[in-house]
């Protein structure tokens, strides 16, 4: 049972407060919270105990969502709920920041009212909420000017609240029926000091954008479902067909949603290599980093970036590259954006770091964080076989895409 939800700005100001039960939570808890947050910095945990309440916090796009309770409850429930609130608000308001929340606080109140009552979460399905409370988009603003009816609440209740497909709004109608399926994968990898790939796995999502009339029943199959290590589904996915034949059978929500997420473990190689070399001697450290293609995925690898934090004991750094641009930011983060790897040469970053006067050698070694993006390839090897509709509407368009990007891709030196 959550008792109260606060929204705090990035300077700790209370932007919004929603009391949920009869036990009012005093606003002063936010001051306590903010003091703690400043004093503990990075090690501030998401679930903490204040002198009077237990607090859950989630930070998204600079906004802190803070929930208070005095009774025992599943911590993940509190945190999941706050994450959903943040997601829904961000979707409604087109991103989160202090101004947008202050401008739209009435909508935020309305949303919170429908999402949680008496401290217990009700519905967090964006589709349903959108039926109850219209998002403040440009279209509705224009409409309100034209028609003079500026209510942002639809007149009807969502039909789905009573149906057995709670995620789908009542029969939408489209002139063009479209469904897009995207495979979006993130590669997490750790390469250790000796250049050994210690860990490499893919976290992937199947994102669907569906604009289909009526109550469509879809079946999606993969060519090689056996490579998946673990899967999680949107509530719309029927369990039995997956269990027996690895088929995703579902009635989709309208619009964009995440159909499934999966994990593929123990990949053998990465598409690119990064070879850092640091040799220090007499108060100076020579840096040499080489980047190149290791396993050609068949499509262009672009937006390659490399970032690392210079150790605090470094006085100055002089780094140059033969390709791309190198920037050293004020917080001692060095960022090298490479873009695409040219055909004729291997990009390299070279230079020297000057250490603090009493230091001979470097003891703290930076970790290089690599970013890249490959359009058109799912590096896990997962392939969509086909997507079927039980009743095919006229003028149906199906689209498939794939994308792999670097997740937590680290190279230690």
């Amino acid at each position: 049972m959550l008792q109260c939800i606060f929204l705090l700005s990035d300077s700790g100001e209370v932007m919004l407060e929603k009391q949920l039960t009869g036990h009012r939570v005093d606003r002063s808890i936010c001051d306590w919270f903010w003091d703690q947050s400043i004093s503990q910095g990075d090690s501030f945990k998401p679930v903490i105990a204040s002198p009077t309440h237990y607090l859950f916090q989630v930070v998204q796009e600079g906004i802190t969502f803070l929930a208070c309770t005095q009774v025992e409850m599943p911590p993940l429930m509190g945190i999941e709920f706050l994450c959903r609130v943040a997601d829904v608000l961000s979707e409604y308001l087109g991103g989160l920041n202090e101004d947008v929340i202050k401008d739209n606080f009435v909508i935020v109140y309305e949303l919170l009212d429908e999402m949680i009552d008496n401290g217990f979460p009700l519905t967090t399905e964006p589709n349903i909420l959108r039926e109850m409370i219209a998002p403040p988009n440009i279209v509705s603003k224009v409409l309100s000017v034209v028609t003079g009816n500026s209510s942002n609440v639809s007149d009807t209740l969502p039909g789905a609240t009573g149906s057995c497909v709670p995620w789908r709004a009542a029969d939408p109608k489209y002139a063009n029926n479209e469904v897009y399926v995207d495979l979006v994968e993130e590669m997490d990898a750790v390469i250790n000091r000796d250049g050994v790939l210690v860990k490499c796995e893919i976290y992937g999502e199947v994102q669907v954008n569906s604009h289909l009339s009526g109550l469509p029943d879809l079946t999606l199959s993969f060519a090689n479902p056996s490579i998946l290590d673990d899967v999680r589904f949107h509530p719309c996915v029927r369990f039995r067909p997956w269990e027996s034949h690895q088929l995703l059978s579902f009635v989709p929500p309208d619009g964009e949603f995440k159909l499934m997420s999966y994990r593929v473990k123990k990949l053998k190689s990465t598409p690119i290599y990064v070879k850092p070399q640091l040799t220090s001697d007499a108060g100076k450290c020579r840096v040499n980093v080489l980047v190149g293609i290791k396993n050609d995925p068949g499509k262009t690898i672009d937006s390659i970036t490399l970032q690392f934090q210079l150790p605090p004991c470094i006085l100055s750094a002089d780094l140059t590259s033969n390709h791309g641009t190198v920037n050293i930011l004020s917080n001692k983060i060095c960022s090298w954006s490479i873009g695409r790897i040219p055909k004729d040469k291997a990009p390299s970053l070279t230079g020297t770091l000057v250490l603090e006067t009493e230091l001979e050698r470097l003891h703290v070694f930076p970790t290089f964080r690599v970013g890249f993006r490959i359009m058109g390839v799912a590096l896990s090897g997962l392939q969509i076989d086909k997507l079927d509709l039980k009743t095919v509407p006229n003028r149906l368009y199906k689209g498939f895409r794939a994308l792999t990007r670097a997740g937590e891709f680290e190279v230690r030196s």
């Binding site: 209370v14 407060e17 009391q19 039960t21 009869g22 606003r27 001051d31 990075d42 090690s43 945990k45 998401p46 679930v47 105990a49 204040s50 002198p51 009077t52 237990y54 916090q57 930070v59 409850m73 599943p74 911590p75 993940l76 945190i79 999941e80 709920f81 706050l82 009435v106 109140y109 009212d113 009552d117 008496n118 217990f120 979460p121 519905t123 967090t124 109850m132 209510s151 609440v153 009807t156 209740l157 709670p166 997490d188 250790n192 210690v198 860990k199 796995e201 673990d230 999680r232 589904f233 995440k258 997420s261 994990r263 934090q309 150790p311 003891h363 703290v364 930076p366 680290e410 230690r412």
Partner: protein, 751 residues
Amino acid sequence: MAPPAQSQRSPSPSQPSGKSEVSDLKLQLRQLAGSRAPGVDDSKRELFKKVISYMTVGIDVSSLFGEMVMCSATSDIVLKKMCYLYVGNYAKVNPDLALLTINFLQRDCNDEDPMIRGLALRSLCSLRVANFVEYLVGPLGSGLKDSNSYVRMVAVIGVLKLYHISASTCVDADFPSILKHLMLNDSDTQVVANCLSALQEIWSAEASTSEEASREREALISKPVIYYLLNRIREFSEWAQCLVLELVTKYVPSDSSEIFDIMNLLEDRLQHANGAVVLATIKVFLHLTLSMTDVHQQVYERIKAPLLTLVSSGSPEQSYAVLSHLHLLVMRAPYIFSSDYKHFYCQYNEPSYVKRLKLEMLTAVANESNTYEIVTELCEYAANVDIPIARESIRAVGKIALQQYDVNAIVDRLLQFLEMEKDYVTAEALVLVKDLLRKYPQWSHDCIAVVGNISSKNVQEPKAKAALIWMLGEYSQDMQDAPYILESLVENWDEEHSAEVRLHLLTAVMKCFFKRPPETQNALGTALAAGIADFHQDVHDRALFYYRILQYNVSVAERVVNPPKQAVSVFADTQSSEIKDRIFDEFNSLSVVYQKPSYMFTDKEHRGPFEFSDELGNLSIGGEAADNVVSAQRVEENDKDLLLTTSEKEETRGSSNNGSAYTAPYDGSSTSVFALQTHIESAISNPTAADHSPQASLAIDDLLGLGLPAAPAPPSPQLKLNTTAALDPSTFQHKWRQLPVALSQVCLNTQ
């Protein structure tokens, strides 16, 4: 929204805080109240918005109550919503004026639009003014029978709100039994879920006074109800599923086939996108199979993948909550997770609390097959930019070394740490090498060679210094310079601020004295003199004790201070298995995140565990009891090396916790009895502390001349007691073992 007293605190510079704006609004609202002109709704809306925004930033706008209510007659739903919001906030402070709103809310409860009916009912129940309960019963009754599920859903929660305002009204109107009927028959699952949560709360509260309520509460976890809910579980919203699953954990199935039925039914919940549902399901699985060992194992295998996926997806906050649960399971059954150790590798930009949990798990899952990789990985963290994590990783290496049989490679790594020339790395490594030597004395040769090269001037941290001093004392026969290093440390006695280091120094000098008397004699005299003059009670006592035992008999002293030691086989666990079981029972609750069972943090309402751990941290230097509490509770923030804590206990209390540590050929109890005696003795002599100084100076003269036979008389009566010691070692140890437990319980009770 905040009470008036707070209103001055938060307004930002751009926000008006004065009264003039509020009275201005009041005027404008009044003008609009009676108007029926076209477009009046739009201007009302602007005004309402202003009022609400003032309320949001914390300005007290309760004085506008009357005007707001007057303006509330409108068909515009946004205006209505803002009005409900306002009324809900200020009704409690303005009960008289709030009466005015009842009328229009009741009217709205009969509106033809179900949305308005629902909203009005919700606001009506949220007024929470005790005098109004009579107005609630009617609308609630018809709300529960409403044809629209949205209204029913709101009405059910309304009943619960009514119950909290006036329990008797709620029960008299027979609402609980209506809810029960709805719960079992309504077509809308959200209504069912709301009924369930309302009934749980109402009947739990009533159970203490009414037989029937407690029977009803029991009935909620009866087979028909549970099966009814389980069969519809897929229709429930994800949050309602959590509620149902929580209820299912309380259900006790009659036989194993029932257990398997439930688990089969719920298996697909493990693949739900909502992490809260997954964890709730896992809890059901773990609890159902608790008595079936082999199935329980399979459950661990089954839930492993979903948990690991949950950790790697989602926001850092979510993965922390999952990780805390995973941590609990890993600690319970490390061997099941030993092949997944790579999942516990730390990522560079993870918050340090996540890294810390991961390090503990890496330590736990280390076994013969993966130790090499894990230790290699951990060593990379030692060069981490994040110093606390670097320290933690070194400790983890040490802990792995202590739990492994093949420590060859690990010892080399630790010794490499000592050569890394970073003060904190050296400090941590020293502490570890000390623990390692206590368990594997056979490594002493290799270690001592490296330790001998470390200059004691580079070691500043008390724990590391204490460890170094311990090694100097223990292995003084192998280290050429030991007596001289000790001597220089003794000379700087006054600059040593940590009592722990001074205690260790005293003991080390004693040990060294027995091994190399001529070289140490000088240092011992200085140390004892400084120790006896020390302001710290423990240091003073120990110095006095050493002095008297030397006076009594040098060979007895040697046996006490420097007995042959057997390697420590197991270091005492810091958290009892009972506590761990309690936390496990409270799976999927805050207990897991705090790593304490709920009774440890919920019985004290107004002081969080945070303050309370700080306080204990301060106490821990002096009292052993407090020390025990800290280790029992395992407060994470407390940056105490747990291994060292246990070793200190051992050092200071003889054979209390680790009976196996000393298997002296002589009667083991004598150490303890001596220790006890000095305690008693000093307690007796404490009030007359003044007469210590002449005694002490006398004693030192004796010592320097080694004129022990000519001992002054006073201590002898106490020492005689020793010969007739009535306690045998086992009873004594038994008593000691009981002591800290009892003390820690007392501490807990008083908090």
